[in-house]
């Protein structure tokens, strides 16, 4: 089975039923994508497939039709993407375990809706749980990332 992950073709083994989450983590060693619940109830495993946010615990590798982007493909510590810069500016993370999923969910929102209202943010982010309660900062960082993309500058 072959997938395109962060722009690179990757071999992920021969089990078509293997959820994308575990192909990323256990086969490819891309551990930025997190396991939280296994039933699409928490959003920690969110990745992009052709730009759309999906719960990778619920997508079998055989069903992946498109390019996969994980948190490792968004930016790196040396070259943060603007959305990650916004997260750093607002010092969002506490334990940090849910944040890759939050960031990818927010990235998908901003890609389709560059200037989301509070209601848009509510609707888009409702599936992503954070047990540390960083929600107010997540909201602020999404607004900041939207402003950066609108050219408000850093």
């Amino acid at each position: 089975m072959r997938l395109t992950v962060n722009g690179t073709p990757r071999e992920v083994g021969d089990d078509p039923d293997l959820p994308l989450l575990w192909a990323l983590r256990d086969v490819l060693g891309l551990t930025g994508t997190k396991f939280g619940c296994g039933v699409a109830a928490c959003g920690a495993c969110t990745v992009l497939i052709d730009g759309a946010a999906v719960r990778s615990c619920q997508v079998a590798v055989a069903d992946v039709r498109g390019a996969v982007t994980t948190i490792e493909g968004v930016g790196t510590p040396e070259a943060l993407a603007p959305i990650q810069q916004a997260w750093v500016e607002h010092q969002v993370a506490q334990c940090g375990y849910c944040q890759p999923g939050q960031i990818l969910q927010a990235a998908a929102l901003l890609a389709s809706n560059p200037n989301p209202t509070d209601a848009d943010i509510d609707a888009a982010m409702a599936g992503n749980l954070c047990r540390c309660g960083t929600y107010p900062k997540i909201r602020a960082a999404i607004r900041r990332a939207a402003a950066m993309a609108q050219g408000a500058g850093p």
Binding site: W22, F35, G36, G38, V88, D122, N128, R131, Y135
Partner: protein, 750 residues
């Protein structure tokens, strides 16, 4: 109400005996182990292959300065604030320092744990009691209690990690003086270098080897007025890793040749496994092995998913649980504890009058609660011929090392524990069960590293839960004041269970944790008694963010609201009237939260509730606003005022306050763990949910710094949340809800 005839004598005896016990415990520590042992400086556990460890908290090598922060980073920001304590005095470049957790070691004992355990209300501790608490730090030292908990990390580190930085700085200056012949008084330190009078910079890495040969001098710590890092918001040292997916949590550990496994233990917690058939699992693709763990099984697979699928397929015959099978029977067992003599009466002031017409009485109930950290329990282990290595997120690395050693028959010295980032702790990772299970799986496959990750259901159903509890309150108001208050609280004891797991014995004497949040609040009540009844119940219970405060603050602050209502008084003013005469910092947080929230003015269709708790040395007042949205309740806004004394990083304190509130509101509104057939009924976030972004209130925080003693911040935001919400629901609907979660009685916006 039972009343013993010898109360005056008992009261005197109680105070005397308690003081005596505390003092002798401190002395006994010295005597039993030898005073020399208690005073001995623990050895420096750091033995770097390159570079120099000037003390247990500081490594300097060619790459620069590395600070050892020997506390679990579980979101509360210790790797930032504790690193800043060293960097402040060291004059290190904060942006360039690296932070590691370091090994389990006696040197990293938590000296602040004992003061928190003193059986007195923290707001009223005398200087002598605080002194005793400090002397009792010999106990965590002798027991190597390297523990992250009790909201103590900053309090414990405040002096010793600044001293680590200061002594290293002065030693480095001496090394520079010896090398260059410069007058030490003329040397400056700045951004990781000693600066000579001519401006030449000698970076610390160039001086470290020479400094290591110099005995550290006595130093004086800088006045806070000179601080450049402490007291202001710093960029968190873990932030960039956490937004790029490069932070390594326990679940992210990858080792060459590593296998993936999961466990499935008896869901009737503590019960035996009668038999199991691995054949259905082994028939599945990708399942490599099923391991008998006695009270459950482990499955090794090609990936974690294959292992989890395999574990579900194993046919198991589970034996019964060692506790009643249903929640109803469990609550009956808790209620039965009221019939026995109390374990504690840590508040016993004045005389409780016999019941009379006009008394206010109420019974409250709270459920068991799971921690439900975002990262499910896991650990990775590698057993070799004569050693064991363990990787996991843990709040107690020394205990984890020792328990893993015991589980595989090794000496603790042969076990290495690597502490990773924690994807949430909240007390769950103060336990060691997940590490021991991984060690046992590794023991069955020597030479092969194995990562053991629990499914969410396994995590939810094998927790050490916040205890379920029942409280009975009776009170009397006269002239707008509380004339008498009697409380009795029944629950299984976290202290006894956890000490049994840790040390093999249950400590005797009054269990403070069982009644904290109720007996130790700064209210002026002339006749006041709080009795704690321990229920003998084998349901596993443990430390859940704010521990006893999480339930007792709900009981106490709900009842204070009921008394205010009975007195016809404003609930916030009523609290102030009782708190102001006792503890000024507590009164000020109430005044602050009143001002912030616009207390007394509610928009149509909204209402506010207030609650206050002094916990972990920090008074916190919270106001929660709720709104009626078409018959459902929305939590719209919240205000927090706290006074933790001197604040080292206001942004982290604020974040912890919000976090504690959201954690408490989530539990109060939505969460419960129930039992049926001896098993936990809940299994995932769909039936044990929490607030989410769209249901989280807007929160405003004000931090006061008038408290003369530093308090904690990781937990004190949680206790008032449940009562503030329940009191707001009462203000909105007139419905007084005495049982959590509130969604049993009202509907919340989903």
């Amino acid at each position: 109400m039972t009343r013993s005839a010898n109360r005056p004598a008992r009261r005197l005896g109680r105070y005397t005996r308690r003081g005596f016990l505390v003092a002798t415990a401190a002395v006994a520590g010295g005597v039993a182990f030898g005073v020399w042992k208690a005073r001995e400086v623990p050895p420096n556990p750091l033995a770097p292959e390159e570079g120099v460890a000037l003390n247990p908290w500081l490594l300097i090598d060619a790459l620069g300065v590395t600070v050892v922060v020997p506390r679990a980073e579980m979101g509360q920001g210790v790797r930032t604030t504790l690193a800043a304590l060293v960097a402040e005095e060291l004059d290190a470049d904060f942006a360039a320092i690296r932070v590691i957790h370091g090994p389990p070691a006696q040197a990293y004992y938590n000296g602040a744990l004992m003061e928190a355990g003193l059986p007195y209300p923290a707001y009223a501790l005398t200087e002598r009691q605080r002194w005793i608490g400090r002397q009792m730090a010999v106990l965590p030292k002798l027991l190597s209690l390297q523990v992250t908990g009790g909201s103590t990390s900053t309090v414990d580190a405040f002096e010793k990690m600044r001293l680590a930085g200061a002594t290293a700085r002065e030693t480095l200056k001496r090394a520079a003086a010896a090398r260059t012949g410069a007058d030490i008084a003329q040397l400056l330190t700045e951004a990781g270098a000693v600066v000579l009078p001519d401006g030449t910079r000698l970076p610390y890495p160039e001086l470290a080897a020479e400094a290591a040969a110099i005995a550290p001098p006595e130093v004086t710590l800088r006045d806070p007025g000179q601080w450049r890092l402490l007291g202001r918001p710093l960029p968190r040292t873990d932030m960039v890793e956490k937004v790029t997916g490069t932070a390594t949590f326990g679940a992210d550990v990858m080792l060459p040749g590593m296998k993936f496994a999961t466990v499935r233990m008896n869901p009737r917690l503590g019960g035996p496994m009668l038999s199991f058939d691995p054949a259905p699992a082994l028939a599945l693709g990708g399942v490599e092995r099923v391991i008998d763990l006695g009270t459950g099984i482990a499955v090794v697979g090609a990936t974690t998913w294959h292992a989890m699928r395999g574990a579900e397929a194993v046919a198991v015959d589970w034996g019964p649980a060692p506790y009643p099978e249903t929640s109803a029977e469990i609550f009956a067992a808790i209620a039965a504890a009221f019939d026995a003599a109390p374990n504690s009466t840590l508040r016993d002031d004045g005389e409780i009058p016999p019941p009379a017409a006009g008394d206010v009485s109420a019974e409250y109930r709270v459920p068991f609660l799971a921690h439900a950290t975002m990262e499910p329990m896991n650990a990775t282990a590698l057993r070799t011929a004569d050693a064991l290595e363990v990787w996991c997120g843990t709040q107690a690395p020394v205990v984890t090392r020792d328990k893993c050693a015991e589980a595989v028959g090794l000496d603790p010295a042969a076990v290495t524990v690597h502490t990773t980032y924690l994807g949430g702790g909240f007390g769950r990772r103060a336990e060691f069960d997940f590490a021991v299970l991984a060690a046992r799986v590794a023991d069955a496959m020597p030479g092969t590293p194995v990562k053991v990750t629990w499914s969410r259901a396994e995590d939810m159903r094998h927790d050490f839960y916040r205890p379920a509890a029942i409280a009975r309150f009776r009170g009397r108001v006269a002239g707008g004041r509380i004339a008498a208050l009697e409380a009795a609280i029944a629950a299984p004891s976290v202290t006894r269970q956890s000490m049994g797991r840790l040390a093999g014995f249950a400590p005797p004497g009054p269990d403070k944790g069982h009644v904290e949040g109720a007996f130790d609040q700064p209210y002026a009540i002339p006749n006041w008694r709080v009795a704690g009844h321990l229920a003998d119940l084998a349901v596993p219970v443990g430390f859940w963010r704010s521990v006893g405060n999480s339930m007792n603050a709900f009981f106490h602050e709900s009842f204070i609201d009921e008394l205010a209502h009975a007195a016809g008084a404003d609930p916030l003013r009523f609290r102030l009237d009782h708190v102001r005469p006792v503890h000024a910092p507590s009164a000020r947080v109430l005044e602050a939260v009143a001002e912030m929230s616009g207390w007394g003015e509610d928009a149509p269709g909204t209402a506010k509730g207030v609650a206050f708790t002094h916990s972990f040395g920090t008074p916190v007042a919270e106001v929660v606003e709720v709104a009626d949205e078409g018959g459902s309740i929305r939590i719209t806004r919240a205000w927090i005022a706290c006074d933790p004394g001197r604040v080292l990083d206001p942004a982290i304190v604020e974040a912890q306050m919000v976090s504690g509130l959201v954690y408490g509101l989530s539990a109060a509104a939505m969460q419960e763990i129930t039992f049926a057939g001896g098993e936990v009924a809940q299994e995932n976030f769909w039936d044990h949910d929490a607030l989410r972004l769209h249901t989280c209130p807007k929160v405003e925080v004000r931090i006061l710094q008038d408290n003369p003693h530093m308090g904690g911040v990781g937990e004190p935001g949680t206790p008032p949340a449940a009562a503030a919400l329940a009191n707001a629901v009462f203000a909105l609907t007139g419905q007084r809800i005495r049982e959590l979660p509130l969604r049993r009685s009202v509907r919340f916006v989903a």
